[in-house]
């Protein structure tokens, strides 16, 4: 894959005040989005937040009720075919022809992009190697495991060497080993110059892959930026977790940790601080040697999401 120099520093996807209503329901509400070239951009949010609708509007199968979307600098509704010929989409649900082999699936899909022999077969073989499908390349797809099928689905969306790769929850339901392989392939593509737009509700995935993320809730972008910046700007680098009652919380923390940097879920309290040492000492003194279990860990994107929306990400799926 050849790095695409033309788009370095430019914007691949730009959405301006985009809304989508289905009857009375507002799926996407005045959303703004900028996906820079040759980066990996994550759309994060719980199911029903409007992630898939946003993607569908970007590749032009759902039409925005208002606002404009430009992809590769072109209005999606006016240049549908030329935009789509330059992007690839892996849908949430694998769309494969079960009676045919991976190789045949790739060839059928390549024809949707008007690829011809010998390029068609050459590209199919390339992708079978790239996604480690060689051992199963000639078996009917219905005999393949979920991990193989997912890799094939991603291979299909790469047939036309897309400049923009859109992945809708690429690793949902996969085992950890397959997820690691896919992440490494996605990073390779990004390094080679492909712009990647990914939706996920796995925060670890977003943190590992994405240069920038936008957190979406109820059809709106509620925050966007580099994962590390979001964590530092919104919260703090360290998280201290322990169980305590609201009365204990008031006695322990008022005047010590700002309320904006506290999050309570049931009995569990999470505190976001720059340096956990002082806080831990304070809790120990309060407990008089009766040591309650305390967890100290780096703050992650999930904390940012929780603090922004007050809802759990994976709990809603």
């Amino acid at each position: 894959m050849i790095p695409n120099e033309t788009f370095a520093g430019s914007t691949i996807v730009s959405a301006r005040s985009v809304s989508k209503r289905f009857g009375e329901r507002v799926a996407v509400d005045n959303l703004d989005l900028e996906v820079p070239a040759q980066s990996c951009f994550g759309l994060l949010g719980p199911n029903g937040a409007g992630k898939t609708t946003t993607l569908r509007m970007i590749y032009g199968v759902t039409r925005a009720t208002s606002g404009t979307i430009r992809v590769f600098g072109m209005d999606i509704n006016q240049h549908l075919r030329s935009v789509r010929s330059r992007l690839g989409v892996t849908l949430q649900q694998n769309v494969l022809i079960e009676a045919l082999s991976p190789k045949e699936n790739l060839r059928v899909f390549g024809r949707y992009h008007l690829l011809r022999e010998p390029e068609l077969s050459r590209r199919a073989i390339e992708l079978i190697d790239f996604l480690d499908l060689r051992s199963h390349a000639d078996l009917p797809v219905r005999q393949l495991s979920g991990g193989f099928q997912r890799r094939l689905a991603i291979a299909l969306s790469l047939m036309n060497r897309p400049e923009l790769l859109i992945l809708d929850e690429p690793t949902t339901g996969l085992d950890p080993a397959v997820r690691l392989v896919l992440w490494s392939r996605i990073r390779e593509l990004r390094t080679a110059g492909t712009t990647v737009l990914i939706t996920t509700h796995y925060m670890d995935e977003a943190q590992r892959l994405c240069d920038r993320v936008a957190i979406i809730s109820a059809g709106r972008v509620i925050d966007a930026g580099a994962p590390a910046d979001l964590i530092v700007n919104r919260l703090a680098p360290e998280t201290v977790e322990f169980d305590c009652t609201p009365q204990e919380e008031a006695a322990l923390l008022d005047g010590f940790v700002r309320s904006g940097r506290r999050l309570r879920v049931g009995q569990r309290l999470m505190l976001y601080v720059d340096d956990a040492t002082q806080l831990i000492e304070r809790v120990r003194r309060y407990d008089h040697g009766d040591r309650r279990p305390i967890i100290v860990r780096p703050t992650n994107l999930e904390d940012v999401f929780l603090s922004l929306t007050g809802t759990s990400l994976e709990g809603n799926s």
């Binding site: 199968v61 010929s85 949707y112």
Partner: protein
């Protein structure tokens, strides 16, 4: 939105790639079915019918059954098969991520239904010819009529399939629509001799009647002016239904 032949052909080739896997098993019944009809009804029932307007009953039956075969070939493709691709396999959702547009999907699927219908009808015709029931060369006209019949029933089936809410309704399509057409479209008996004039006008609305009359004309080599009406009905109805199907498929595939 627009139509582009290369993309429509890519849709057609998806179906062809699947059919290539199974054609050896699929094509055999296409040869058996006409043989069963000809023996059971043509020779069995026909033994009690001395003569039909100057021909034997089996010769009367042959041209209509070619059209029935073409109708069935197209109908299975645009009902159950389309519905599976649309709802269960989500094949069109994947196509909509590529430069393919709904119009291309419609064109590709209609073309594929015509292909299947031509295989069905063509096999039937070959069997008739082998039994000496297809007068040559005049009956060769049906080789043009078969794809026309396929087009007509592809568009009828598509309009139905794209508008129904669930797959169970296909049994209505087959038992309440295709079966009566099969029985009351001049295939088994000449409507003109059994129906009163008002009913004959009603019968003119039946889509299968027109291809059957065209087939009969081609087998007998006698073309009366009514074939022009049959020809215009077949193409005109197909055109109108194609427009309806186009609206439906755009609504189903995009929003």
């Amino acid at each position: 939105m627009s139509f582009s032949a290369p993309y429509a052909l890519a849709v057609w080739r998806r179906n062809a790639a699947m059919y290539r896997r199974t054609w050896k098993w699929n094509i055999l019944p296409n040869f058996f079915e006409p043989v069963f009809y000809l023996f059971s009804i043509g020779i069995g029932v026909g033994a009690y019918v001395s003569e039909m307007g100057g021909t034997s009953y089996i010769e009367f039956l042959a041209p209509g059954l070619v059209c029935v075969a073409a109708m069935n070939g197209a109908s299975f493709e645009v009902t159950y098969n389309i519905y599976v691709r649309l709802i269960f396999e989500k094949a069109y959702d994947a196509m909509m991520t590529t430069p393919i547009e709904p119009d291309d999907v419609l064109a590709g699927e209609v073309l594929w239904a015509i292909t299947r219908s031509s295989i069905y009808g063509g096999c039937f015709f070959v069997v008739l010819a082998l039994f000496g029931l297809a007068p040559l060369p005049s009956s060769l006209w049906v080789l043009l009529l078969i794809p026309m019949t396929g087009l007509l029933f592809a568009t009828i089936g598509l309009v139905f399939s794209l508008r129904i809410p669930n797959i169970d309704l296909f049994s209505f399509y087959f038992t309440l629509f295709l079966t009566p057409l099969f029985l009351f479209s001049d295939v088994f008996f000449p409507l003109g001799e059994r129906l009163t004039q008002p009913w004959l006008w009603v019968a003119e609305a039946l889509p299968l009647l027109h291809p059957v009359r065209l087939a009969r004309a081609s087998f007998s080599g006698e073309f009366s002016p009514v074939v022009l009406w049959d020809f215009l009905y077949t193409l005109g109805a197909s055109g109108l239904l194609l427009l309806l199907a186009r609206r439906s498929i755009r609504q189903r595939l995009t929003n």
